[in-house]
Symmetry: C2
Subunit: 221 residues, 2 copies
Amino acid sequence: MGRGTPGHAQPTRRSAAASGEGDAARVDGRVRRSRDRVLTTAFELLSESGVGGFTVDEVVRRSGVAKTTIYRHWPSREALVIDAASRISAEQEVPDTGSLEGDVTAILANLGHLLGTARWSSVVPSIVDVAERDPEFAGIHGKIQRGHAAPLREVIERAVGRGLISAAADPSSMVSALIGPLYYRRWFSREPIDDQFVKTIARNVISSQRATDAPGRDTRA
Amino acid sequence: MGRGTPGHAQPTRRSAAASGEGDAARVDGRVRRSRDRVLTTAFELLSESGVGGFTVDEVVRRSGVAKTTIYRHWPSREALVIDAASRISAEQEVPDTGSLEGDVTAILANLGHLLGTARWSSVVPSIVDVAERDPEFAGIHGKIQRGHAAPLREVIERAVGRGLISAAADPSSMVSALIGPLYYRRWFSREPIDDQFVKTIARNVISSQRATDAPGRDTRA
């Protein structure tokens, strides 16, 4: 495996690398596209049927990607379900409106909107159900939940740092008190999540933790 | 269909009725016992396998009740699942501790305990999942949820009547704000539901709705 003489090594290696990168990029592109198609299809199927109705055969049928290719990337049905389910990540900007109440209200309003419209909100219950019996699913479920909670946690911790709420405030309890009521309405009581509800939840949770020397609710920016 | 002469009608009818009631009671007793056995078995099976793993054959195997008998009472697998699932009713006394915070804390502490220990808490996610796709299940799910919420709603409405919280308080929002955080920890974030958490949730939700002329949190009974 000669690599050329030292004098020519550099350009030779460079052009080989460039050509190799081109090939690799093309292969990577194809692999990535088929991987993406499988994941997108798998996620759609999950949305329609839940984990219980999910089969690799149906992913093959819908995606047109060969079963052998699918099993090369995901060793089992469970692995594919978990990977597809991990797309359930309500990516969301962390707002900075100048007040904690404004930030929390913005995050909850967005979450409430997603709960009412995003397809993943139909998938979540089947993840919760499987997580009840399967530790691996419980792990991915926990990851999804931490993802949903991350922006809230960030604005709460920032507010503690700014002295807007009590340093004794427990961010975990506040996150539960903020997200819980929305989840309850979406998946349990099946009541609407309207702006008024979101505002009430945000205001009450925050006012209960407000530092005594911080601005009151009517003086916020 | 002679009913006897007026003079004898009364005793004759009474003894016939008594004898008929005896037979009917015996039959009813047998029917009720086999019905109960089927429902208990079905509920156990739901707890273990969720709705997805529930089969009438397995109920037959475990209960020893004939499949024909089961189908005489429940026309379909779905009907039996729904009936068994409706046993998920956290029957609970409505406390009257003398303060809304005391009442709510007692109810939430009991609910938190049940969420951590009762077998139905493993069944609920599969009901939520099926309800996502099946209107009949959505109906039973709603009924179960209203059952869980009823004691809270009652103590809140009583407190409004007694002037302890604002007449403008929205009991539905308060119920969501009280139950939601517990459900969130049980089925989503999988964090512990301890006494401190329950007390914090109860205190914060109630203090946000306290009537301005009502006793403060430190003067309650």
